[in-house]
C-alpha cells in the first residue's frame, strides 16, 4: 500500500475513532441520566422538569469530569 493510501485510511480511522468515543460518551450519559431523571413510568412526552434534568445532568457530568481531571493534575505537582 503506498503512503497516500495509508495516510487516507489513517485519517479515516482517526475520525471514526473520535466519532465512536463521542457515541460512547452519549450512550453512557443517556444511561446514567435516564436513571436519575426519568423516575416514573415513561409518558407520551417528557415534562419540562424531565428534559431540563437530562440537559443539566449531562452538563454537570462533564463539569465533574473536568473538575476531577484538574484535581488529579494538581495532586501530581
Amino acid at each position: 500500500m503506498d503512503a497516500s493510501h495509508a495516510s487516507e485510511l489513517q485519517y479515516f480511522l482517526e475520525q471514526e475513532k473520535q466519532k465512536a468515543v463521542l457515541n460512547e460518551l452519549v450512550g453512557k450519559l443517556t444511561d446514567v441520566c435516564w436513571d436519575k431523571c426519568i423516575t416514573g413510568t415513561p409518558g407520551s412526552k417528557f415534562s419540562s422538569g424531565e428534559s431540563s434534568c437530562l440537559t443539566n445532568c449531562a452538563q454537570r457530568f462533564l463539569e465533574t469530569s473536568s473538575l476531577i481531571l484538574r484535581r488529579f493534575q494538581s495532586l501530581q505537582q
Binding site: L13, E16, L22, T30, W34, K45, L54, C57, A58
Partner: protein, 89 residues
C-alpha cells in the same frame, strides 16, 4: 464470505480500494452501535415497564414499552445536543 472482497472491476491487484474498506468499516461500526443501542433500550424499558412479569404482556405494559422506546430515543437526542454544545473549541 470475506466482507472485504470486491469484484475485480472495483478492486486493484493489491486488494480492495480504500473506499470499499472505509464503507465496510462504517457499516460494521453502525451495526455494532445499533446492536448496543437496542440492547440498552430493551434493558431499560423492561426494567421500567414490566415490574411484575405475568403470563403475557398486558396492554398497559406494551404501551409503556412503546412510550419508553420513544422517550429513550428522545433522551439520547437531548444528551447528544448537550454534549456537543459543551465541547471545547
Amino acid at each position: 464470505m470475506d466482507p472485504f472482497s470486491s469484484p475485480p472491476l472495483s478492486g486493484s491487484a493489491e486488494g480492495p480500494s480504500n473506499e470499499v474498506v472505509m464503507d465496510k468499516v462504517k457499516q460494521q461500526l453502525a451495526q455494532a452501535y445499533a446492536e448496543e443501542f437496542f440492547s440498552t433500550v430493551r434493558d431499560k424499558c423492561f426494567t421500567k415497564c414490566v415490574t411484575k412479569p405475568s403470563t403475557s404482556l398486558s396492554g398497559s405494559e406494551s404501551s409503556c414499552i412503546s412510550r419508553c422506546v420513544e422517550r429513550y430515543i428522545e433522551a439520547t437526542g437531548i444528551i447528544s445536543r448537550a454534549v456537543i454544545t459543551s465541547l471545547p473549541r
